[in-house]
Symmetry: C2
Subunit: 302 residues, 2 copies
């Protein structure tokens, strides 16, 4: 009988430091060719698709995430982990937590690898699930002492700030504009559903690091070329996936550095404390199964 | 929390009559266009593939079966059922039983629709899991009073006969040749892994009905054209899937009758008690999810 994990189980088992460590290992494994993640496969149903993204860590496990495009508010995803030795199913996770925490933890790995070592402040634009898991992971890799958050809904950004204080124990303030949220902050997280730029590069402090989680395509991006023009380093968790975007990625993929190569120590990270660094999060495939493998080995602590 | 069913749970909940009724309904739903089953989708891993076959019954449910091609003896499949109204996962089945019982029950539906109403004897070639579920389902649609079984292994065919007597309460005999197994029998089940014909049409009684479960392609088939030439009716559970075979199906698809059309009452079945009828089982896609939907509504009875 496989282990069946709900969102509550995942939340109870997985702390941010373990999640970030897992995603650093996944980035290195992908860079070294040990983590195999083929293009997504999908089946067309009536009014939507079922999509499978698979992953395989040679000799250890294989599996997939499945999700659909029907757009149900409470629709559930699945992540399935097979043991590579005998093909048996070791664990199944139902819900959203594995998916959103792995994205957050990839962002946490980017902050760990690219932000200034002395970073202590974070500005957040967005107040949804992705914004939360990005901050949750980032706070595990730097001693954060202050957070400022902006999103369009005053009620939601206020609730987000309250949650940051309560769950992460970090002083947090909801502010009235994106500029106010990012100005002077060492790390900036942008996690919105906007198809138009929501921040100006001019508002960023020298030496800032920026995680970009939302749309990042030509004609549909939550940031503008002003940000990329100012960046000394633009990294992504999957240059291959970024190169397959349609519409295309907002910048040429030759400008991208592999975060996995940085994690593996074979490509440089930040060059100086004054540089602006940027992480384009695309969601390296296979990492949901990678994370489930780690979560399955942990015990519930709640 | 979704319902998680193991092979033991499926065996305890599902009787053959319910399984055959479900597959008759599925055949009609597919014929009427209500059961949507797109081509399989797959992701290429190292040394094998992960495959997803999806199904969607409009307004009721959608889901998929996943399996892989690594060839592990104890590898586990998954069948997943989403509620179409809210996208939540209602049930997950882990293992082989849903898959093999749905194939058996499609065969049972074929026997019910095509065999002589007064059929009482069954000849079986093969003694594996597929042979078993075919017989399990066929025995639910006719008052079977005798079974003869042949397979290459004397030990396995003997164990099969013993199991038939013990679990189905039907007198069963293991015999020394395929000809002896099928001669004079009203219903014949062929469920082997052979790539060469294992029975001769000349050995079949007038009015017999034959279920063919194994290979059925040009140059690779467990039966020969002598059988199809003698048949008055050749039915299949999915003309579309049969037409997509590679290598191609052993006979032109124009010769095939849709079993769903027969089940829906819009195409004729057997014309006389003397005719030979044949069912080419291809495994109508989407039926695993269809069956899981029914099983999920049942209680464990064991």
């Amino acid at each position: 009988m496989p282990l069946l994990l709900t969102d509550a189980d995942v939340a109870a088992r997985l702390d941010a430091a373990a999640a970030v460590a897992a995603m650093r290992d996944a980035l290195v494994a992908a860079h070294e060719g040990r983590l195999i993640a083929p293009p997504r496969a999908s089946a067309v149903l009536e009014g939507g698709r079922l999509v499978m993204t698979a992953g395989h860590l040679a000799d250890e496990w294989y599996g997939f995430r499945s999700y659909d495009t029907f757009g149900h508010a409470d629709g559930e995803q699945l992540v399935v982990l097979h043991d590579a030795r005998d093909g048996r199913i070791r664990a199944i996770a139902v819900g959203e937590e594995i998916g959103s925490r792995r994205t957050g933890a990839l962002g946490g790995a980017a902050v760990d690898l690219l932000a200034r070592p002395d970073a202590t402040t974070i500005g957040v634009i967005g107040s949804g699930r992705q914004a939360w898991t990005q901050l949750w992971a980032a706070a595990a890799v730097r001693p954060v002492r202050g957070v400022r958050v902006f999103s369009r809904s005053a009620a939601r950004r206020s609730a987000f700030a309250t949650r940051v204080s309560a769950e992460l124990g970090i002083p947090a303030t909801a502010v009235d504009s994106a500029a106010e949220a990012v100005r002077g902050q060492d790390v900036v997280i942008v996690a919105t559903t906007s198809e138009r730029p929501v921040l100006a590069a001019a508002d960023l402090a020298p030496g800032a690091h920026v995680n970009l989680v939302g749309f990042k395509q030509r004609g549909r991006a939550e940031f503008g070329l002003d940000l990329l023009d100012r960046a000394a380093l633009i990294a992504t968790d999957s240059p291959a996936q970024a190169g397959a975007y349609e519409p295309p990625l907002i910048c040429p993929t030759r400008d991208l550095r592999s975060l996995g190569a940085v994690a593996a120590g074979v490509a440089p990270g930040r060059g100086s404390v004054e540089e602006l660094t940027v992480f384009l999060s695309v969601g390296l495939a296979g990492t949901e199964v990678f994370l489930l493998d780690r979560v399955a080995a942990l015990q519930n602590v709640a």
